[in-house]
Amino acid sequence: MTSRISTASIFYIASLFFAFLSVNATATTATKVSSDFPAFSKKEIQIIKTLSSQRYTNTSDVSNHVSGSASAIAFGKQLFFSKKLSGDGVISCASCHNPKEDWATHDAITVKRTAYPSTRHVPSLWGVKYNRWYFWDGRADSLWSQALQPIENISEMRGSRVQIARLLISDFSFRKSYEAIFGRIPTLLLHAKLPFRARPVETEKTNADHLAWVKLKPPVQHAINTLFSNVGKSIAAFEETLVSKDSPFDQFVARLTKEKLNTPTELFDSDNGFSVSAAKGLKLFLGKAKCITCHFGPNFSDGEFHHSFLSPVSLQGDLGRYDGIQLLLTNPFNGHGKFTDIKKGSRNKLDFVYLNVEFRGQFKTPSLRNVERTFPYMHTGEFKTLKDVIHYYNTISKRKSVNDHQEILLKSLELSKAEEKNLVVFLKSLNGYRTLSVAQKHSGESNTETGDKL
């Protein structure tokens, strides 16, 4: 009798022991699956669902009264693809944010930005509407105020707001579209004698553009700024339509029901880009590799800034967010300025921004949607492949220097070669297939609409 009890209890103890081991090893509560298929816990499934493109919300931008308006979208698209916005008529937004290159540029760094000691890589515009801040350093707080900067940047489109005003006044088609959305161009502006080009250049008051700008009467300046910001608002309305959906990952999430967890063969679909290897990568993304701490939500980004040890914090280094905040706060087109449509007294994210030395060397977390196709990577554009990026994260401790703010979270991950590969396979599952044809359609249409060749 005693021996029977003890045998039973030993079996009980042993099974508890093994249950304990297995729970700790994989931390899953999901049902039996063949050993090759990774099992996901309830908690993991809950998080996975928050990453689906289904969770993209359809809100409009409170700082832009034409956000979501069909006529503004159409006008903004024309502007985006038009080279007439540039100072010398040779480049459009689409020259660098090329729809055939997923609204980015595959050259590592095409632009030497004169305002900065270092260069930055062209980001893709997929999901751009869901960012909280714009540019790698967040120096714009709205998509429309972002659009104004490349037009006047002397290392980008080399244009000026006065040229934009002249263009809208004199180009019959542009003027018709503009006035249909924003009302008549004020007679004050129609009658003003406008110089060929003019823009404020606060950092260089002897600049010819600046001298021409300060000669204009304040009401004329205001009318030009209003028109200029309306151009930005139309471009932004168009950019807001660039949302990528239906990637193999999203389709996997849609299949992620309880029944299919039990028959995982239906869950994974290697032919359509979500293989067992992608699932293992997803599990690492959520767990051991901790990517989810910064790359979360349907856009795979927290929209905030982190120091990834790419630019050293030094006088010569690119200080990123630290400089970005100062530029943001002094920008007349920001959310505190005269041209925003944010209602007075309503909540404004700009109210809570502050400058902190912690922000030196921080850059915005990019979205990972279509990431395979938006190479090269990082603000420096220094990695050509996703494999290089993952290897960088895996061995990141090597890059830390004493001056760097210690983002303790980012340390070498001890991933095996196979694990690195699985993460890459997972990232590739974020490519939206159908949307690429949408992108091609955009570029095709633009050729007929504006006569621009990409």
Binding site: T293, K349, F352, V353, Y354, I408
Partner: protein, 154 residues
């Protein structure tokens, strides 16, 4: 039979040594202010200040603070025995992630509504994980503080 004793011994080690060890790691963060015992009332968290001068009540409660969304905090500071305070007070808020060595990316706006009531606008916990939330309460030159740890879910 010997084999069984070994298994039982291993099991005992797991129960009495490993599990407590596993449980203990992860909850011991060094802190200059001791995190307080928090009391939960419906969607309100209640804390005692370190110097026991005040009770701090705030909502939303620590278990429903949103990830990466701006939110407002309604704070009510009462006396140690819940009495409404009639003298003027000032309050500061500090929050951050000790494990990541950073504070919030924002400075929230604090509106003093009188009688120990404050509205804190523009709080933002931009990353999932363990955050601390600290209230510093000043009456003239005297100050007292309360701190609590919370987990923002992903």
């Amino acid at each position: 039979m010997k084999m069984l004793h070994v298994i039982v011994r291993v099991f005992k080690i797991i129960i009495f040594v490993l599990i407590p060890a596993i449980l203990m790691t992860g909850c011991n963060q060094p802190s200059d202010v001791m995190a307080m015992e928090a009391v939960q009332l419906d969607n309100t968290t209640q804390l005692q200040t370190q110097g026991k001068a005040y009770t701090v009540l705030f909502s939303p409660a620590i278990d429903s603070m949103p990830l990466n969304k701006y939110f407002d905090l309604d704070v009510q500071i009462k006396g140690a025995t819940y009495q409404t305070l009639t003298f003027p007070l000032d309050m500061e808020i500090d929050a951050g992630m000790k494990a990541h060595n950073h504070s919030m990316n924002v400075i929230p706006r604090i509106i003093n509504l009188g009688e120990g009531k404050f509205r804190v606008e523009g709080m933002l916990f931009h990353m999932p994980g363990k955050w601390f939330l600290r209230f510093i309460i000043r009456r003239g030159a005297m100050s007292d503080k309360a701190e609590v740890n919370l987990v923002v879910a992903s």
